[in-house]
């Protein structure tokens, strides 16, 4: 049972004078998969970055709670796993070195069993000691899932999760997402109908545009 609670309160975002979305309010307090859909440029990535605490909203507030206690922004990264096409891992290091450095910087010991399980699951175990710069774009995308899941986050944010993946890669990811959704909250921002089919609830960004 996950005790995570996310409350998005009246957030609006402007880039300069251009409105992206306005007065968005929703709550997520149950485990499961929530979809965020919208046209290209509608602000899906901006919204997930705001939820992850990477970007500030122009107005409004995001509240993250774990077991009834509000999470301070400095600690938020410990609760969030994030995958996106614009996320870049260190290409001069191997997959294993990346995971080891990330764990050390988070201040936790690398869980080798979980790392090996995820590497095996995402078909990267045999290449774990190769430099990331030698990986294909699909392999890099799969490694990002390991980066997002290695620290057992309560809130997993997936922005265009299946970009660069072949059909078997997509199946593996969907299986992994469904498994994780039993104990965590998963947010998927995507235009792909197959991604959105996993979701139990969908937030449509066009509903938050200025009419």
């Amino acid at each position: 049972m996950n005790n995570y609670f996310l409350h998005v309160k009246n957030i609006s975002k402007f880039f300069g004078r251009r409105l992206i979305f306005k007065d968005m309010t929703f709550e997520i307090n149950n485990n499961g998969i929530i979809g965020i859909s919208g046209d290209n440029g509608s602000g899906k990535s901006t919204l997930v970055k705001i939820i992850a605490g990477i970007t500030s909203p122009s107005s409004g507030e995001i509240v993250h709670q774990d077991r009834g206690k509000e999470i301070i922004p400095e600690k938020l990264h410990n609760y969030i796993g994030f995958v996106s096409p614009y996320l870049v891992l260190y290409e001069e290091f191997s997959a294993y070195e990346n995971l080891s450095f990330f764990s050390n910087i988070r201040g936790i010991k690398l869980n080798i069993e979980r790392a090996d399980f995820l590497l095996e699951k995402l078909l990267l175990f045999k290449r774990k000691d190769d430099l990331v710069k030698t990986y294909s774009s699909g392999m890099k995308q799969r490694l990002k899932f390991i980066f997002a899941l290695i620290h057992n986050p309560s809130l997993i944010i997936l922005d265009e999760p299946t970009s660069n993946l072949d059909s078997s890669g997509k199946d593996t990811v969907y299986q992994l997402v469904e498994n994780e959704s039993k104990s965590n909250i998963i947010i998927i921002a995507s235009n792909e109908q197959s991604d959105l089919n996993l979701c139990q609830r969908e937030i449509k960004l066009q509903d938050f545009k200025l009419s």
Partner: protein
């Protein structure tokens, strides 16, 4: 500095060994700048005050060529987002600062050795005062360069903006460091240099405090 910041420093150190992003440009700049100064002096004997000034000129411009890499390389490779997702801003600033401190001290030890070997006017009469000037000057340079690097990494024209923005911020530090270096050449005592030492220590403390306060705003979009 905590274990997380040290882990980030180790990551940067390993990355630097593999990519040589900053070290190569720093080494080349030190070599070229020192050679140009030597060629332009020729057989002339330069005064101690000019030697002290030229010493810090090379340090300033070498720092400009290498220290911005701490943040610019993350931004250029697109790994800033990754860092934002794994660490608090204060951890990131501490890790990057530690890396720049090590880099600036290594670089300036090399410059000092080069100057000692090549310049007749580079004769230190009060070594303790020189070490104090060197320590506080380099610490200030690393702190100021790190926060300026964080600011310009988000800008478009990074290469030109860095020295332009650094110059007014580093001017009080460079002037005081030049003065203290000259005093160490002349054999002045710590009592005689207390005013300059107070300025440089205050500068370091103010820059460090302001940097930690500002970094949250600089780092987040």
């Amino acid at each position: 500095m905590n274990a997380k910041a040290y882990a980030l420093y180790l990551k940067d150190f390993r990355s630097e060994i593999r990519t040589r992003y900053a070290v190569n440009s720093l080494a080349m700049f030190v070599l070229v700048a020192t050679s140009v100064i030597l060629f332009s002096i020729g057989n002339e004997t330069i005064t101690q005050s000019l030697t002290a000034g030229l010493f810090w000129v090379v340090i300033f411009f070498s720092a400009m060529s290498g220290l911005s890499r701490a943040f610019v390389s993350e931004e250029e490779r697109g790994t800033s987002l990754t860092l934002q997702l794994i660490a608090a801003p204060s951890t990131i600033f501490s890790g990057k600062l530690l890396f720049n401190i090590v880099l600036v001290f290594c670089m300036n030890i090399v410059i000092t050795l080069l100057y000692s070997a090549l310049f007749d006017g580079f004769v230190i009469k009060n070594l303790a005062l020189f070490i104090a000037a060197f320590f506080f000057g380099n610490a200030g340079l690393a702190i100021a360069s790190t926060i300026i690097a964080a600011i310009i990494s988000k800008a478009g024209a990074k290469g030109t903006l860095y020295p332009v923005l650094s110059f007014p911020i580093l001017l009080p530090l460079i002037l005081t460091s030049v003065q203290l270096t000259l005093m160490s050449f002349e054999g002045a005592s710590f009592i005689e240099a207390k005013f300059e030492l107070a300025i440089i220590i205050c500068y370091d403390v103010i820059m460090l405090t302001a940097s930690y306060l500002l970094f949250d705003f600089v780092w987040k979009d």
